[in-house]
Amino acid sequence: MVYELKLAGKIAVFFALWIPFAAALLHTFRKTDWVRPLFWVSGVLFVFFFATRAYHKSFFPFTDKVESFTTFSALMLVLGYLYLQKLGRKEFFIFVLLASLFGTVCFVFDDPLKYPTPYLLTIWYPLHVPLSFLAYAFWFVAGVASFSVLIFKKDPTLAGHDKSFLVRSNRHGFNAFTFSMIFGGIWGYLAWGAYFLWDPKLLWSVILWLYYGNLLHIDNLPRLRKWREPLYLVGIVLILITFIGTGFFTRSIHKF
């Protein structure tokens, strides 16, 4: 029964990740009526996947790398759905493709279902982790929009690429990340007496917070405004280092 449920969850998440990609393809060919219903189907499949994981672990389902990547993908797809009319067809396609690829990585990893370690069994963990992924997702929106301006030479004054769209995406991401860091700090203080350690994941979280907090000011600085889109694009690299780099290539206690 355990194996069958795990397999069912894996099949569900596979379709949950790639149905939105099909929807994005349809959207590219202007068959927009299908996009939202397909996203809803994907959402139901995601809920089933997370429910099977939560059932197996008797805890919130973001405690291993499979769940981490899938949660991030799911949140990116939620934003894709919400920003459907704000993003151009190319940006929407790229954004959804990235989301699907991130989640599909979970099929590469070995996936033994284990109960969470004692340190993870606290309310601060499910408060902290999804908010950080939500922040990454908002910043990815800003990054993809900036990519479109730089590579596709989109007119940045068009709706969806103007200052307010980028600022709002960043602001939402920054807010989410601020809360995430606060909850993570409380958890760290209770777990081992420190809200900050010289740990790669924590260090890079501070880097992200400072970087994107800084970017909130760029539109007030005429001499630096031309760097806005390139800096949002660099932000994507910083997110990848924080999320993936520290999880795989460092001695972090947050190692996957």
Binding site: K114, N175, W192, G193, W198, W204, V206, I207, L221, T250
Partner: protein, 327 residues
């Protein structure tokens, strides 16, 4: 000039680059930088080393950022006082900057004054600097259905102040707090460990208990237990030294497993001792942390939270429902 936003932007970018550089240096020097170490500045100044150059630079770059942020914030505050009004956006910015400044101050204070120390608690009192004495009086381990550890509940008796006894339960994410939370003892690891071996005389059935690093007189000699090995071996064993009255010494290994006959016995002259059982004792690895700037950080967090709330604007065009504009 100090208080200039462009300068502040550049200082902040400089801090970001500095932190990234520090991360790289720390990852490349694992022998210098232990995993999981606290904010205490002692590591970087006792003694100062060239490899810590990024940290010395970081102190300087955060100092510049802090001064510039303070100047900007004061300018903004003075403008608001003069205008006798302040927009939500400006108020949010002010609160965030206040939170950042207080956080920088808290980290600096914690780095200079903070302390941490690891302790191993058993059923005997251990002196814990800053708290008093503590000992482990009970340990319960909770397990998941697959046998993996779910939690450890360690009952710890503290003697604080003038021999005032108090008992607290420590578990993962549930530390013992003192001095309004500025002093904390948190559970890192709790388990049982071998505390001795009980041997039984095959003839008289007499039992002998021997602890690590101690000796007992057996017949015509002295038996010393050097250590008990349980981790990383297929069969746990005890490592002994047998010294006869004639001055001969021999090393002996004893399998601590009844199924490992005949290796579960020691032949000591005319006596034969069998392994009877192992004696375990609960122990607790705990982390003591003193953070005098905790309440500064709490105020910083509250200011930041307040700033976040003001960043959620109520304007209709900021809501998701308004995103359904066609392009």
């Amino acid at each position: 000039m100090i208080g200039d936003q462009t300068l502040g932007f550049l200082f902040s970018l400089f801090c970001v680059i500095n932190l990234a550089l520090g991360s790289l240096v720390m990852n490349m020097n694992p022998k210098v930088y232990p995993p999981f170490f606290m904010l205490d500045f002692a590591l970087f100044f006792d003694p100062p080393k060239t490899v810590h150059f990024w940290f010395y630079l970081l102190l300087f770059s955060f100092f510049l950022l802090g001064i510039n942020t303070l100047a900007c914030s004061l300018e903004s505050l003075l403008a608001a006082i003069e205008a006798k009004s302040i927009s939500k956006k400006r108020l949010a910015g002010l609160l965030f900057h206040l939170g950042l400044l207080l956080a920088l101050l808290a980290h600096l204070h914690e780095g200079i004054q903070g302390e941490h120390q690891r302790y191993y608690l058993t059923d005997k009192f251990t002196e814990i600097k800053g708290i008093g004495k503590a000992r482990l009086v009970g340990l319960e381990t909770l397990h998941h259905p697959d046998g993996s550890k779910k939690d450890s509940l360690a009952q710890v008796e503290f003697m604080v102040g003038e021999n005032q006894s108090q008992t607290q339960i420590l578990s993962y994410n549930n530390p013992a707090l003192f001095s309004f939370g500025t002093k904390e003892l948190s559970l890192l690891h709790a388990a049982t460990r071998p505390a001795g071996i009980i041997l039984k005389d095959s003839t008289t059935q007499q039992r002998f208990e021997i602890a690590p690093k101690s000796s007992i007189q057996i017949g015509q000699g002295t038996l010393t237990l050097y250590g008990i090995m349980t981790q990383g071996v297929r069969v746990p064993f005890g490592y002994f030294l047998w010294r006869t009255k004639q001055g001969q010494t021999e090393k002996r290994l004893l399998a601590l497993d009844h199924s490992m006959k005949p290796y579960d016995r020691l032949e000591l002259g005319d006596k034969v001792l069998f392994f009877d059982k192992m004696k375990d004792e609960p122990f607790l690895a705990a982390q003591y942390r003193y953070n005098p700037s905790l309440w500064i950080m709490v105020v910083a967090v509250l200011a930041t939270l307040a700033g976040s709330l003001f960043l959620f604007r109520k304007k209709r065009r900021d809501n998701f429902s308004a995103l359904n504009e066609t392009r």
